[in-house]
């Protein structure tokens, strides 16, 4: 029974993907429906499994077959549906279904409609493998698979070379992180002779081998590097903003809600390893906090609607990493879930806007859209309020918990996180005001084209907006269902030592609300009262310009890494390869020349052949009977 559940969960999206890739052209509009149904089935299976596990408190396990078996070391192709993976599966397949539904309208008329859904289903398949794998190697398959799908979907409109470059950038950046992940896997395999999560956990919990702590630290650091790549943290974050080249639903699904949270998932999955590496945890917290601030500050001045959301995603992921660094895994998971709701809603909303604007993404050409797109405007506003921390919406609770944890552990990082939150409130409302308020600034042609999106696009928006409002209920401060639920998975669970909400907690909530108001009012004064519109690219000066150009990080990376690698590559091409191929071709030339000369002996003169024949026999006879 258990194996059947897992197989059904896995194979339905894979089947949908294969059908769409091979028969997508023939199916036409049917391919979108098939893909959506495939993910919906996975979602239903997940819900059934979730209800079962939530009732019995025992994870569903299933080994499909023995995969690699050598002496003392074996890896089975097994899957583990425990509390953590089911939680992830719920929102991966749930939001996945909504985004598939949304895509059926958004991608309508695209020449590669079937292929798009094929890739999207393939992504869901790999994401399920990543989340449900019972050992690190299975997770790694999923990890690489989602990277591949991300690459394919970023470069989906492959006729634009910039998009192809963005896809390659994402893939290569991820490869750097993947190498770290792989090294971590090797170290863990070396230490425990197993990659199974349960086995490693048991080995560590028995607590007999404290002398290997250095190695554990190395493994944790390596895996954290993998998480940095996938979850777009400093210094490997630059691929995520560029990844916005893909279709907007892809950005919502892969680059906001699911794939980029894989790093958080992995660290939470291996929380028992990270607990033993306090130095690595500190690093995670610092990297997370700085990423949150850094990305938020870039987000302040971006004018591309999707770029703002991309930097916002990086910033929010930074906050999650900060929570993980403090060992508050439940809080990070909580923020992952609420973030998945409101960020998916924001991306889908921006997709709706871009759809209405006929592909325009620059906020300077928008404005006043609230009159034309009521549903999009209201859902977008709700999600914005949620991400900015409007009291009692989902984002308020999750972000507040992160800041509360930070306040307990490290005041400096708390301040950084708070500043990032104020910035978040500012740039999100800036986005809303510039897009939906004041007069329309685009062309007359665009104005005539403005329309609300069809029901299949607004329905996911409404569902996600509702989830953004009520998502916070799963971890109500003081009596958190989520903490209780995750208790079996997380070793140092917060549920083990609950503490009542004191004065401090209420004070922090108040501070967070004030921060939210500061950001809101700041944006309101600037873009509603003064009705400012961001300047054109060539008029931007000073620090604003530095921010607008993303601190020139791309340029610095270009100078620091890309150019030297090009120089090395050019050296190898012009010197080493020329020398090597010269040697190889030289040998070939010699053989060629010899054969040309030898060819002349074959002149077709039978008399000569006969003479050579007799002469040869004479030589042989001479050698055999006389010379020897």
């Amino acid at each position: 029974m258990d194996t059947n559940v897992i197989l059904l969960l896995l194979l339905v999206p894979l089947l949908g993907s294969l059908v769409n890739i091979f028969f997508g052209k023939k199916l036409g509009n049917g391919s979108g429906i098939i893909a959506t149904l495939a993910v919906l089935i996975s979602f239903i299976v997940t819900v059934v499994a979730f209800v079962q596990v939530n009732g019995t408190k025992t994870p569903i396990q299933g080994n499909l077959f023995e995969w690699i078996a050598v002496e003392k070391f074996s890896i089975s192709f097994g899957f583990l549906l425990d509390q953590l993976s089911l939680l992830w599966l719920l929102f991966v397949t749930g939001i996945g279904t909504l985004i598939h539904l949304y895509s059926t309208s958004y991608m309508k008329g695209d020449e590669n409609y079937g292929k798009y859904f094929g890739y999207l289903n393939l992504f869901i398949f790999f994401m399920i493998i990543l989340v449900a794998g019972s050992n690190l190697l299975i997770t790694f398959i999923g990890w690489e698979g989602v990277g591949l799908c991300s690459y394919l979907l970023i470069g989906f409109w492959h006729k634009n070379q910039d998009y192809n470059d963005a896809a390659k950038k994402a893939f290569i950046m991820n490869r750097i992180g993947d190498l770290g992940f792989l090294i971590g896997v090797f170290i863990l395999a070396f230490l425990f002779h197993s990659l199974d999560y349960m086995t490693i956990k048991t080995a560590l919990m028995s607590g007999t081998n404290h002398q290997i702590n250095t190695w554990i630290g190395c493994a944790a650091l390596a895996i954290f590097i993998g998480a940095i790549g996938k979850s777009a943290q400093i210094p490997l974050y630059t691929w995520l903003p560029d990844a916005m080249a893909g279709p907007t639903p892809v950005s919502a699904l892969i680059h906001a809600a699911t794939m980029v949270t894989a790093g958080i998932f992995l660290i939470t999955r291996l929380n028992f390893v990270f607990d033993l590496a306090p130095l690595v945890q500190d690093t995670i917290a610092i990297v997370g906090a700085f990423t949150a601030l850094f990305a938020a500050s870039i987000g302040l001045v971006q004018n591309d609607i999707k770029k703002v959301l991309a930097y916002s995603t990086v910033s929010q992921l930074g906050l999650m990493f900060m929570a993980i660094g403090f060992g508050a895994y439940e809080v990070a998971v909580f923020h992952v879930i609420t973030h998945a709701f409101f960020k998916a809603c924001l991306f889908l909303g921006s997709g709706s806007v871009i759809h209405a604007m006929g592909g325009e993404q620059d906020m300077r050409r928008m404005g006043g859209l609230d009159k034309y797109m009521k549903v999009t405007y209201i859902t977008f506003l709700i999600a914005t309020a949620a991400i900015s921390g409007f009291p009692f919406l989902s984002g308020f609770f999750s972000k507040d918990e992160i800041l509360m944890v930070a306040f307990e552990h490290n005041k400096a990082l708390y301040i950084i996180g708070s500043i990032a939150s104020i910035m978040t409130a500012f740039y999100m409302f800036r986005l809303v005001f510039l897009t939906f308020k004041k007069g329309f600034r685009g062309t007359q042609e665009q104005k005539n084209h403005l329309h609300e999106s069809p029901i299949s696009m607004t329905l996911p928006l409404i569902v996600l907006a509702v989830l953004s409002i009520f998502g916070g209920l799963i971890s109500w401060p003081g009596s958190s269902w989520l903490n209780q639920y995750l208790q079996p998975v997380i070793v140092k669970s917060a549920a083990n030592h609950p503490h009542a909400l004191g004065f401090e907690a209420y004070m922090l909530m108040g501070v967070a609300t004030v921060g939210f108001l500061i950001g809101l009012i700041w944006a309101f004064r600037k873009y509603i009262q003064k009705a400012q519109v961001p300047q054109e690219d060539d008029k931007i000066t000073g620090f604003h310009k530095v921010l607008y150009n993303k601190y020139y990080i791309d340029e610095i990376y270009d100078k620091l890494f890309v150019k030297p690698i090009y120089i090395i590559a050019t050296f190898f091409r012009d010197v080493v390869e020329v020398a090597l191929s010269g040697a190889v071709f030289g040998l070939g030339k010699i053989a060629d020349e010899l054969s040309l000369q030898g060819k002349k002996a074959q002149n077709g003169n039978i008399g000569l052949y006969l003479f050579a024949f007799v002469f040869g026999i004479c030589l042989l006879l001479y050698y055999l009977f006389i010379a020897r």
Binding site: K599, A601, Q602, N603, G604, I606, G607, F611, V614
Partner: protein, 106 residues
């Protein structure tokens, strides 16, 4: 009845067969007429046959003579094929001078 070998001596047979063989070889090398070359090959073959027969008698062993019979049978077949080829060549190019047969040039 006296043995032929005892009257003449085995060494004479060997010399004769060497001479015949060399005549064949030089004929092959110097003549350009394909039929003559063909005859030279036959001379070489028969010199070897003669040597076989001579030694067979010398050793009082019939095996060599049986062997010669087989050789002759095969040679006869080979002559039939060879002459057929020569006739075809003559029909095609009107000559059997091997200097004109240079189509196998590499």
């Amino acid at each position: 009845m006296e043995n032929v070998i005892e009257i003449i001596g085995i060494d004479k047979y060997i010399y004769l067969s060497i001479i015949l063989f060399c005549i064949g070889v030089f004929g092959i090398l110097y003549r350009r007429n394909a039929i003559v070359m063909f005859m030279c090959i036959e001379i070489m073959l028969n010199s070897a046959n003669m040597l076989l027969v001579a030694f067979s008698t010398f050793h009082q062993d019939a095996e060599g003579q049986v062997f010669v019979f087989f050789t002759m049978a095969v040679a006869a077949a080979e002559v039939a094929v060879g002459l057929a080829i020569l006739v075809t060549i003559y029909r095609n190019i009107g000559s059997i001078d091997i200097d004109k047969l240079k189509n196998l040039k590499g």
